[in-house]
Every structure is written in structure tokens, then in C-alpha cells.
Amino acid sequence: MSEKTTVVEKEAIKYEGLFSVKELYQLIADWVNSKGYFPIEKFIEESVEKEGKVITAKLEPFKKLTDYAKAIIKIEILISDCKEVEVTRAGKKQKLNKGRVVIEIKSVLETDYEHRWEMKPWLYVLRTIFEKYIYTPFLSGFKNALREDTEHLKEQIKAFLNLYKK
């Protein structure tokens, strides 16, 4: 089995108020593309309820760093009580959404994702030695880069949501 190491623990960004669902989703998609991650939308659910729309999305963009290591950012989005409203901003009428947003972000570094080092017991032992003594500097470099990417994404989302705060 491949090994998954949590690099950044799950942290939630919470927001309530005006925002644009489309723009928020676009921001995440653009960020994923610009950083060279492959966009994987594992699960998306959108339902219309009495209190407003409920949108649940689980995104798992990943980036193959080498044949051995892969960076994965797990993004869970929950938007609830989402209603469409019309507001006037800078003298212009604009259609926005009003609701609650919870975005949880966690990042994981997956090693041996091609399952090459697990075929035989001696290979598994060799892999442990390889990771511990030879590949460590590379792995810590990957972890630092993934940590930076995750923090950057969080900052981007927070900045985006702050734009709508009054």
C-alpha cells in the first residue's frame, strides 16, 4: 500500500454572508490549474432545499512530484442556506449569493503511489531504509512546498471572502 503522510492538518475556513458561489469555485479551479495540480472533483452534490441551496464538494487535486511522491490537497466545501440576492455595489446591480460557507483543507503527501516497493517483503524493508536515509531531504522539500501551496490556497480563499465583507 502507498503511504500517506498528513502535511497540513485539516483546518476550516468559515464565512457567513454575501459571496459568489461561481467566483469562489472559479478561484479554487484557477488556483489548482495555475499551481500545476490535476483537478479531481471526487464528489459534488447540489440540492435545492427550503432554506436555500446546499452545495457539497470534495475536491482532491494532486500533483505527481516524482515517480515516487505525489502531493494531494483535500478540499471539502460545504455551502448551506445559499440564496440568490441582488445587491448594488459601486453603483452597479450585481447578482450574488448569501449563505454559509465552510471550507476544510488538508494536504497529504503520498509515497510509492505506484505500489512498486511493496511486492516483496525485502523490497518493503529496503523502501523504509531508502525513505529514512536517502530520500529524506527530497521528502522534506516536497512537504515544505506542499505546506506553502496549502497556505497560499487558504490565504487566497480568505482574501476572496474578505472582499465581500462589509
Binding site: 458561489v21 490535476f38 479531481i40 471526487k42 464528489f43 459534488i44 447540489e46 435545492v48 452545495i55 449569493n97
Partner: protein, 166 residues
């Protein structure tokens, strides 16, 4: 013949959508991307809460003489009701209900079984996959099919007029 499966994506939607447009759109999407469309299973039920539709659709496309893509879509529509809505001042017949869609893909290498003749050919094929076209499979074909799966998911969500579409 070697088969490589890709991760699947799952979409759920509850609300108003045009059922026939969604189904026709999916067929057009496959055909527009040069896939041959097959409908191996189709179930239709009419319980009290609204009718149910369950179908499997898969598209096949030969990418070259050696690589074939198969994208399978399992779609379940339930609580489907015919409704009338007013759109731009005009009455329009449409549907309300729920959709769940699972999309998965498979890459078939050597789909014409050219390397199946002898043990030598199989060993040669193994060498070919592991050392000659390894990068093509991992970095090109796998990404290519995943992009198509992501695009099909996006297309279905657009057809359902979901908000979270980038």
C-alpha cells in the same frame, strides 16, 4: 491486454433540470469527442413518488492502434416529476427530481491482443510498458482520460445548472 482503471467521480443533484436535454447532451458529449456510445443497461420504474430511471452508458474511443479509452457513466434519476416553469415570460415543460452520476474510466492497452501469442511476447510487452512507454501511460494517457472524465462531470453539472461549476 492490460487494463488501467482511473479514480471515479460522483455527482449528485436535486432540483430542476431538463431530463431529455441532459440525456441528449451526454450522448452528444460522447459523440462530439469521437466516442462510440453504448447503452448496455436501462431500467425504468414508476413508483408513487415520481418515476425512476437507471442507466449505464459507456463510450469507447480508440486513441491509437494500441490504446483505447472507455468512459463509463452510471446514472440514476429518481423522484422525477414533469413540471412547468416560467422562463423569460414563457411556460416551459421541464423536470424536477434527483440525479446521481458516477463516472469512471479505463485505459486498455493492446486492445487487439497483439502481444498475447506467446510468453516471450508477453514478457516483451511487460518490458515495453515498464521501460519504453511508461511515461506516456502515466503522464499522458492517464491525464488525458482523467481530463475527459472531469470534463464530462463538468458538462453534466452545467446541464443541471449547478452553481459550483468553474
Amino acid at each position: 491486454m492490460t487494463k488501467i482503471s482511473t479514480p471515479s467521480i460522483n455527482i449528485k443533484h436535486k432540483g430542476i433540470f431538463d431530463l431529455s436535454a441532459v440525456l441528449q447532451g451526454i450522448k452528444n458529449w460522447f459523440e462530439g469527442d469521437e466516442f462510440k456510445v453504448h447503452y448496455p443497461a436501462h431500467k425504468l420504474k414508476q413508483p408513487a413518488g415520481g418515476w425512476e430511471h437507471e442507466m449505464t452508458i459507456y463510450g469507447e474511443r480508440k486513441m491509437n492502434e494500441y490504446v483505447k479509452f472507455t468512459i463509463t457513466l452510471f446514472i440514476r434519476l429518481y423522484d422525477i416529476k414533469d413540471i412547468e416553469v416560467i422562463k423569460e415570460g414563457k411556460k416551459v415543460q421541464t423536470n424536477s427530481g434527483r440525479i446521481t452520476a458516477d463516472i469512471s474510466g479505463e485505459i486498455e492497452l493492446d486492445f487487439e491482443n497483439r502481444f498475447d501469442g506467446s510468453k516471450f511476447l508477453q514478457a516483451f510487452q511487460d518490458f515495453y510498458h515498464k521501460y519504453i512507454i511508461k511515461q506516456d501511460i502515466g503522464d499522458y494517457w492517464e491525464d488525458e482520460i482523467m481530463l475527459k472524465i472531469v470534463n464530462l462531470g463538468k458538462f453534466i453539472r452545467e446541464m443541471c445548472q449547478q452553481e459550483a461549476v468553474a
